[in-house]
Symmetry: C2
Subunit: 235 residues, 2 copies
DNA sequence: TGTAATCTTATTGTAAGACGAATTGCACAA
DNA sequence: TTGTGCAATTCGTCTTACAATAAGATTACA
């Protein structure tokens, strides 16, 4: 294992470390199809023997995998592969980028623009129905406390793209939705409803390009708002 | 430190676990600005005392952070915060999704569609120049081995959006670019050049909507190809 | 006989101690 | 002044041990 005499400068960014190797081996279990999502891994004792490492090393690896959201550990029950691969890593990453709110907004914008395009191809009637409800909720909200419905609107669109990877990404980005809301003190409910209706119409017509266009208008409006306020805060 | 009598069950979706708390605390060091990127953390002994945990727990946390790409550990030298937060988590995540190539393609598609739109607003003349070069490279390639130039084309567009978060995402997604290439046995160089030229023209004109449209055509073409081949392989 | 409570046990969570490896830095000698 | 060697620091790993928790079984009681 440690015969590094072979000119390991090539791709050895890894600096070996047993625990990392263990991480990769466990990931391989999934990739190779030996285990599926949702499966229960052997108890730590067995894994130790099977992989030939000590318990702390194994636990370091498991801890890393858990933080990545690949597995879930339940006291006394065991360790399981997660069915949803996704959101966790992003959350941590985004936690480190909270100071860069405009970047997050733009990332969300980029992603949602693509999403709505694909949603126009795939969205189901049920999802359209749900969308319409959120619009109603916003339109009928007495106060200006329609943040949740707004978030829901975007979330439904994300789901309708029917792609687990993108879902994971957008889930994390939408976490910042609340923060964005708090930035925009001056609510413009009618404006929001208008935008949402336009997007809905495009989706209903299954028109990717129009869906894109309407979403672009909407998000560009939001972005301008945020840029405006955040720059006002910065300086 | 260890008398957690303060009812920490408040937002503890985390099922506590000391090591996770340690992870968050260390992340907080960065977020709160107490430490900066590139800084050296105290040696493990000191961290143990400071955080009031045992070494295995601390090491589990550090291991998780390292896997996330937040820190780097060097034998004997110490532990350092990384300057670039970014791509690592995605790579792992995507490693688990390699079996779902169409999903990756679509995710890339969604992201690139949004990207090219924003790129149209931000791209610099130098970046346009680079883009043109990659197109030339592809056009002049004798054999059909223009995969790298193709990848470069998309990468430049991603960079021109000038957003670190999106860069991290797209970097990981483009890893699959090679895999996609290998799927498409039948090269259609002229077709590719055509698409790229159209995208380039839109970017040069700083026309977001046309850029989107051209990219959509391009990626949709690629997607159809991949779907075709991968479904042929599946069955 | 069925249900509930208790107890055992398996498994994860945490701790402490120890040793090895590797690299750095200092000291000493040439 | 420079080079070599030794020591100390710090990460990497292992061993052992105990605590906590919850599932499952067993037993007692109705």
């Amino acid at each position: 294992m440690e015969e590094s005499s072979k000119k390991l400068g090539v791709q050895s960014v890894h600096r070996s470390t047993l625990s990392k190797q263990v991480v990769e081996q466990i990931v391989q279990l999934l990739v190779s199809g030996q285990m599926k999502a949702g499966d229960k891994l052997p108890p730590e004792m067995e894994l130790m023997e099977e992989l030939g490492v000590s318990r702390p090393v194994l636990r370091e690896a498991l801890s890393a995998l858990e933080t990545l959201g690949v597995i879930t550990r339940k006291t006394r029950e065991g360790t399981f592969f997660n069915n949803k691969v996704g959101t966790h890593p992003f959350s941590v990453m985004l936690a480190l980028a909270t100071d860069n709110l405009p970047a997050i907004i733009e990332a969300r914008m980029a992603l949602e623009l693509g999403l709505v395009t694909m949603a126009a191809e795939k969205i189901t009637d049920e999802q359209l129905e749900k969308l319409r409800k959120t619009i109603d909720t916003i339109a009928n909200s007495e106060d200006n406390d329609y943040g949740e419905a707004d978030k829901e609107f975007h979330h439904i669109i994300a789901l309708s793209a029917n792609n687990p990877i993108v879902e994971g990404m957008i889930d994390s980005l939408l976490i910042t939705h609340n923060k964005v809301n708090s930035l925009i003190q001056v609510r413009e409910r009618e404006r929001t409803v208008e935008y949402h209706k336009a997007i809905y119409a495009a989706l209903e017509a299954r028109d990717p390009q129009d869906a894109f266009l309407q979403m672009y208008k909407h998000l560009d409006f939001v972005r301008q708002k945020v840029l405006q306020y955040s720059s006002a805060n910065d300086e």
